[in-house]
Amino acid sequence: MGKTKTLTGALLTTAILTVAGCGGGGTASTETAKAPADPADASGTIKVLTARTDLVQNGTMARYADEFNKTYPKVKVKFEALTDYEGEVKIRMNTEDYGDVLMIPAAVAKNDYPKFFAPLGTDADLSATYRFSDKTDVGGKVYGIAQFGTANGFLYNKAVWKKAGITRWPATPQEFLTDLKAVKAKTDALPYYTNFKDGWPLTAWTNNIGSATCDAKANDKLAGAVSPWKRGGELNTIDTLLYDIVKGGLSEKDPSTTNWEASKGLIAQGKVATMQLGSWAVTQMQDAAEKAGTDPGDIGFMPFPVQKGGKYCAVLASDYQQAVNIHSSHKAAARAWIDWFTQKSGYSAKEGAVPVLKSAPMPSTLKDFVDNDVTFMERSEAKTGEVNTIDNAAEIGLNKPDYRQKLVDLARGAQHGSLDDYLADLDKRWNEAARTAGS
């Protein structure tokens, strides 16, 4: 009896505390965070949350801050680097303490942006200057500016592909497979590396949506019960290619113990020929090549093997978006930092990424794309919010590794089932979720 009483008491206390503790979410001003006209007017200490622990530790970010202080002397910039950025920031967003400038975590639903971030201006204004501004457009106002963008495609070792006798980029998925087979037959290199264990590199495949049909609005078209994996659909082309690569024995024998850090060295030394990644990875592989004493010039980047009218297409997708905390007391300074960091810091050029500024030139990492006249298309993000809602409701995870890990498992026979059944099942889940989530 006594025990029951204690327990009831504890539960009651808990219930009261629970109800009391969940108030939260006070009202904050929704006025636009504008950088001051005179840099001397911006003042205060701002905290910038970032996932680049490496750049904070080696002092690169501090150098950016020093550079920033030359224009804005009264603003003090502090950095907080988080290893598990998504996980930690998501939890902190239940409080008001999530820095002054932060990158919008993927977990935040698009329609919730106005509750967490200060608006940065209207889409009509910002889209003239910046790429990707529609990604954070809620009701005509923009809540985030991208750090940089990436083109997607295949990273490859030029020397190895040349040794296999291939001199031009494959133009169809079939040709791509034939080329990988040639690599397997004529060189010692592993034709393709999945990075299965680390998982996230598998999600990069999704960023090819649009490249496969040369349609910048392809991602928006997924909103609804549209069977994305139907024959001829973007995701069907993309996932079938991955399936065929693994099924054809063109990838590593034991994918369950792959290692991302080691894979950089493998491709640099020509032990691996090809990997599917974003163009941001090129500089990292070139660094790896320098460390391994091989030629960084061997690292090449090719578009997804599909052509339209004899030309390749490459979709540009935006990386994390920088936003200003709605609870920040130094919004002007925070906005000043975002503008300076995107326009003047030279960060995206240094990272070899696609600049957010429309006026800036393409990076040297994409020189081959520019030389070969690849069409760059900025991915339309008008319906990303809806697509994400359906994706989560269906528990598929277009940007999560799980469903592709299962695809690879099916292809190498570790799990039973056929590709058609699996894709049909994905379609079914997607459509059901679209119907219930849309209501």
């Binding site: 629970t18 975590p105 919730d112 498992d409």
Partner: protein, 319 residues
Amino acid sequence: MTETTRTAPAKVPGTAPPPSRTPAGGEGRRGVRVLRRLTPWFFLAVPLLLLVTFTYVPVGNMIYYSFTDWDGVSPDRRFTGVDNYEQIFTRPELFRVFFVSFYYLAASAVQIVIALYFATVLSFDLRCRNLFKGILFFPYLINGVAIGFVFLYFFQDGGTLDSVLSWFGAGSGHAWLGDPSSANTSLAGVSVWRFTGLNFVLFLGAIQSIPAELYEAAQLDGATRWQQFRHIIAPGIRPVVSLSVILAVSGSLSVFEIPYIMTGGATGTTTFVIQTVKLAFQFNKTGLASAAAVVLLLIILLITWIQRRLVPDEKVDLV
């Protein structure tokens, strides 16, 4: 915890003098008495506060979330009643992952037997006894994350396991973590390696609390080692064994660390907790994940209760 809070204040009135004998200083006496009654609570205040803050409030929150459709970030959440629970019990794929637990359940049986064997052997006089004790207990001291990474290399294609096997001419080339059954067996094996030490120490402690005269007497009577184990050790450590079994069952149902680090739940190694974590943090279904956690809690409570019913906690009296 509850045991102490219940019994401690009850003892106080017994030691305090009865109030009727001192009618003069009633006021002051009552003050002292109240203070005495309160004293244990002062001592308990801090642990109780910690317990409530870090156990009951989160659990209460979790139960509350399980009735909502909260996505884990949004300031708004909708009350959806038992919808989440309905989903858990009507979607077979959410429950199917419990089958993975059988690998770990089987592994914990092996683990208890190994631990029991070594605890018994090492409780007798043996050369290098303490060294062996240390070796057996050592894995339990290593951080689970580190173990995950170490064994990732161990099971790698051409890794430690493959090279050791090749010394014996059994070059397998088998992808240990590559197909569901061998992956789960390998992971369960790692779990045995890690937790045997804990069981071993528990058993060893229990065995050493058995009075030495009993062994002496048994030896004089000509009992073999097996007979000593069967009639002295086994009954003597029964409560500890039953505790270990409860821990093993609840542990097998809630395996997380090792498979999450080593395979991330790929290739059919997803356990119930991994699935819950993915629901909460990948698909932003915090409500559904909380409901799953509540269900797991209830299942574990239920199993523990059944187990206590089947194997009641008898008082052990050897002497």
